[in-house]
Every structure is written in C-alpha cells, then in structure tokens.
C-alpha cells in the first residue's frame, strides 16, 4: 500500500548507481507539482506519479483514462482497467464521461504521452510506420493520446531516445504537438498548452517560444553530442544545458524497494 507521506524533495544524497529508466522516472516526477490533477498512463508515468506523491506532491490527484480517480493501488497496475485501480479509489467514471467531464471539461492539469515517432514540434505518431494504407509496421493506434494532446493544460512525453523515434518527419500524425509551431496549434482550434517537456532515455528536452524542441539537460552517461547524434534533426541546445540532477538515494530506494519491487516496469540494474 502506498502511503502519502511527503518526504523532502531534493534532500538526501545523490545516488551514484541508477538506471536510465530510473532517471527518467525521477525527472518526470520532478515535473509534477503538488495538488495537480494528473492523467496517468501505465508504465513509467504511473511510477513517476507514485514517486511524486511520496517525494514532494502528497496531494497529487491521479485520474486514469479508465475513469478511476484518486486510486491507491495496492500493487502496480498492469493496465488502465486494472482492478487494483478500481478498488480503493475515490470515484469511478464511465469511459467517455471521463474524457468529457475531466479532459474536455478542463479538469486535467498534466497528461503523459509516449509515441513511436516524435518530431521537433512534439507531434507524435503511434499509429503506423510507413503509409497508413500500406503499413510497414502497424502500431496500436492513438488510444486517448490525441485527446490528451489536444486538451490538457500541459503534457509530458516519455520515450526512448534514438534516431528511429526522434525523426525529421513522422509517418502519421496521431497526436498534435505544436504542429508547425505554437501559432498553428492555436489556429487549429487546439486547446491546452501542448507538450511541456520530453523526458527521454538521454535527457530532458523542452520547447522554445516557436514551439521547437531544445535540449535542456542530458542524463548521466549521456552528453550533448550523444543526444544530438540520436536525434534525426539538427537539435537546438540550451545555452544553459547541464547534466540532469541525478536521483537521490532515497528516490532510487523508493523505486526499487517499494514502488516497483518486482521490476515490472524498471529493469533491475545489471550486476
């Protein structure tokens, strides 16, 4: 059972031993503020949310796409519709109702998304590699990604960083980022603030005034060069770029011992 006891945010010694996935979860958790209402996705976003609740945001409210609000899962949820989310939560909405009365009604502060392809404006493809009508690789599809991208106040993108995913041109636009820039996003009738940050296996990236991605910080064992090498366009870099502050020992302990003790979403570090 997850206790909502706050622990101080950056207190504690920086960890020396942590995995790239652990770094991602910690970096994502830092983006969440107390009392925000978070639309949570399964996997690393769940862990980021649970960690934020334990670390610095005890009153963070979780809303799952399945309609479960304020869940306190007694184990890690494997799917959005997991019975561990349906038991012991504060309220359950129907599926469309959850979209309408939560996302569309503007109750959601932060969403999480991932994708198979991402371009410099944060536009995402989770539908198809190749032509839509002649799929090379057929992916699962949008799910709720398109509505999260188009409605919530801001959203975070979490994904592995390589040139196959960070591409010049995505094959299909499943979910809108800034389209061809912040202006176009607004003109198109899109709501919400758009993508706020990308948390990749290599670093944290943010978006400038025009809506273009830039590197804000690189994780331990990564570098500006490594990030640019693994990005399919000429990536901008912040003049203040630095190493992403590492997790604290306590954060790593929480993840390994309490939040994902079986290593379901976070592989254990190889010995």
């Amino acid at each position: 059972m997850v206790q909502l006891m706050p622990t101080a945010r950056h207190r504690g010694r920086p960890a020396v031993d942590f995995t790239p996935e652990e770094m991602m979860v910690v970096a994502a958790a830092r983006e969440l503020r107390d009392r925000e209402r978070v639309f949570v996705g399964i996997g690393l976003p769940v862990l980021a949310t649970l960690l934020a609740q334990r670390d610095h945001a005890p009153s963070l409210l979780t809303i799952y796409e399945s309609g479960a609000i304020g869940s306190r899962p007694s184990r890690l949820a494997m799917t959005m519709g997991d019975p561990a989310l349906g038991s012991r939560c504060l309220a359950i909405l129907d599926f469309f109702e959850c979209f309408a009365t939560m996302v569309q009604r503007d109750f959601v502060d932060v969403g999480f998304l991932g994708a198979a392809q991402l371009d410099r404006y944060g536009n995402m493809n989770s539908t198809v590699i190749g032509d839509y009508l002649k799929a090379k690789v057929r992916l699962p599809g949008s799910g709720g990604a398109c509505e999260i991208a188009g409605n919530v106040k801001r959203f975070l993108i979490i994904m592995p960083h390589d040139r196959k995913r960070f591409v010049e041109k995505i094959d299909f636009r499943t979910s809108p980022g800034y389209l061809s820039g912040r202006d176009e996003r607004q003109r198109e009738g899109l709501r919400g603030g758009g993508p706020d940050a990308v948390i990749s296996t290599l670093g944290v990236l943010r978006f400038d005034e025009s809506g273009q991605m830039y590197l804000d910080s690189y994780h331990r064992n990564s570098s500006v060069g490594k990030v640019r090498e693994n990005t399919g366009w000429n990536l901008k870099v912040s003049p203040k770029v630095r190493e992403t502050p590492p997790p604290t020992e306590e954060q790593v302990r929480l993840l390994r011992e309490e939040l994902d003790p079986k290593g379901i979403f976070l592989r254990k570090p190889s010995a």
């Binding site: 399945s66 519709g81 349906g86 309408a100 569309q104 539908t127 799910g143 709720g144 188009g150 636009r173």
Partner: protein, 305 residues
C-alpha cells in the same frame, strides 16, 4: 416473470449474433466478455467489431477470421506489445483483409454515447491536428453557433448487438456491475440488442435492493447467460484478477499464423463452453487469481409504507 431470456452461451450467440452484424463488446481491462467472444469465434460469424480498445479479445476474433471491419482506437497487448493477429491482418491481409475505421478513444466512445443518447452526433473537442479525419470523412467539423469555436462532430454508432459481461444479473437481464465500467453502459444503450453474461445469476430482489448499481436494465436485454470466469483472461472486479501470464503467453505463442491457430485450437475451438475452459485452466490458476475480500458497506434505501 418468465425466464425466457435465460439460455446457454451457444444459444444466445446463435440467436442474437448474425453474420453481417456490427457488434460491440464492453469493458476495459475489467469485464471483457471473453466467453461470449469465444463462442462467436466457434460459430464462425462474420462481423464488424466496434470497440475503442479490443485488445487481445479483438486480436483473437481477427485471427480467427471473424472480423471484416474494425471500428477502434487502440489495439495492442496492454503493457506487453503488439497484437500479432491484428498486425498480420493489416500488414499482410492474413487470414483476411480487414477494413479499418480508426479514431481515438474519446471519438469511438463518444459515437456510442451519441447512439445511447438517441442523437445523430455529439460535438466534441478532439481530433484537431490529427491525421485521422483525413482518412475517415465521417468526421465533420463545424463552427459553434454560440461561441464560434471549432468543434469536431462524432456521428452516432448504433451497433446491432452488444456483448457484455457483468458481475451479477437476474434472469431478466437487470445487471449489476462495479469497478471500472468503461463503455459497457453506453455501448449497451446504443445497441439494438444486448446479450449479458454474468458471474452470478441472482434473484431480482438483490437487484431491487440496490437499483443505483444497475448498469443495464433488463428490458433492453435479449439474452442472459451464466458464465463464471466469463471475463478471463481479463479481470472481474472482486471476482478475479487479470491473468497476466495468459497475456504474456499469448504474446509469445501467437507470433505466426500457425502458432495462433494452435493457440486457438487449444483455448477456443478445443473447449465446448466456458465450463470446460475453466476446468482446463485448473484449480491452481483460478485460486491464484482470486483477490482477498474488500467489501462495500451496505446502504439503506429505506422501506416507505
């Protein structure tokens, strides 16, 4: 009250699911009607499937050649990866090509909501800036006559038949369900006929003692089936957990058409009904999936006389 709606799974599917029908299946992680879907596969129907997230239930129907058209928004093996039969059908037309009508979660479920509400469309704020509408001109846009803002229109879907699984129902089909309910109610209300399978068949008195728990009223139900473990390998809140091992096994063992067919032979065609399926699962598996108890407190509706 007669019990003419109460019948076997086989009879329910035979009588109420017809070739060419569009069918809706309820649930999301919780309460997928796997038993009903497997019977549909055994009876080799040819259908349009309407479901935002058909996951491996949809994959099994596609792999078995039951689906000619899919109206959906996500199809994978949750937390695991691809739905292989779906990929084979789309990428290679195996075992047959399927037509895709593809949107997003809110749009597919909003179309069912419009159907449930008896209106031809529902305005919504989604699909802007996405490539889906370009492929599916059923989606229209309009400027709001009140605010001037741009709105997306979701046309109503009214499936021929809804297949749903619930925790308990009476013999007339009055259905109690709890936990994550997803699209079960909207899908059932939108559909022309409803077939219910239930973990337990209860006396109507149990329903009347908690009418706010009724998800689907019996008058719109065509058939009621008693299928314990009918949602396995998905979960039924309070009855059993999702069977993660099954999902992993399904991922490993359906990567080729041949392997899929072997899997289907064993787990779908190889059993007569859910009862045989359950005994094939084995007591050890079943026990492992049962949660500890965590009960609601009763509420008092009062007897007014």
């Amino acid at each position: 009250m007669s019990h003419e709606k109460f019948m076997s799974t086989r009879e329910a599917v035979k009588r109420f699911v017809h070739d060419g029908d569009s069918i809706f299946v309820g649930g999301f992680g919780n309460l997928y009607p796997f038993s009903l879907a497997h019977e549909v596969i055994r009876q080799k129907k040819n259908l349009t499937l309407v479901k935002h997230s058909p996951e491996i239930l949809g994959d099994q129907m596609i792999g078995s050649g039951c689906i000619r058209k899919l109206v959906f928004s996500w199809l994978g093996n949750p937390s695991i990866g691809s739905a292989h039969a779906f990929r084979r059908a789309v990428e290679h037309g195996v075992p047959k090509r399927i037509e895709l009508e593809e949107y997003t979660h809110a749009s597919v479920t909003g179309m069912l909501k419009a159907g449930a509400m008896g209106i031809p469309f529902l305005p919504a704020k989604t699909l802007f800036g996405s490539d889906y509408p370009g492929h599916h001109p059923q989606i229209k846009f309009m400027d709001c006559p009140y605010t001037g803002e741009r709105l997306c229109l979701l046309p109503a879907i009214t499936p021929d038949v809804a297949l749903i699984h619930v925790q308990r129902a009476d013999a007339e089909g009055n259905s109690h369900a709890w936990g994550i309910l997803s699209d079960i109610k909207d899908g059932a209300f939108a559909s022309k006929r409803v077939v219910v399978s239930a973990e337990e068949i209860v006396d109507t008195e149990v329903i009347r003692r908690d009418p706010n728990r009724t998800l689907v009223p019996g008058f719109m139900v065509a058939a009621v089936v008693h299928d314990p473990w009918g949602a396995h390998p998905s979960s039924a809140q309070g009855f059993y957990d999702r069977d993660n091992e099954y999902y992993l096994e399904y991922d490993r063992e359906t990567r080729s058409r041949k392997d899929f067919e072997k899997f289907a032979d064993e787990w779908i065609y190889g059993v007569e009904n859910r009862k045989e399926y359950v005994s094939k699962l084995g007591r050890k598996k079943l026990e492992a999936l049962k949660p500890k108890s965590y009960k609601s407190r009763p509420v008092d509706y009062g007897w007014y006389s």
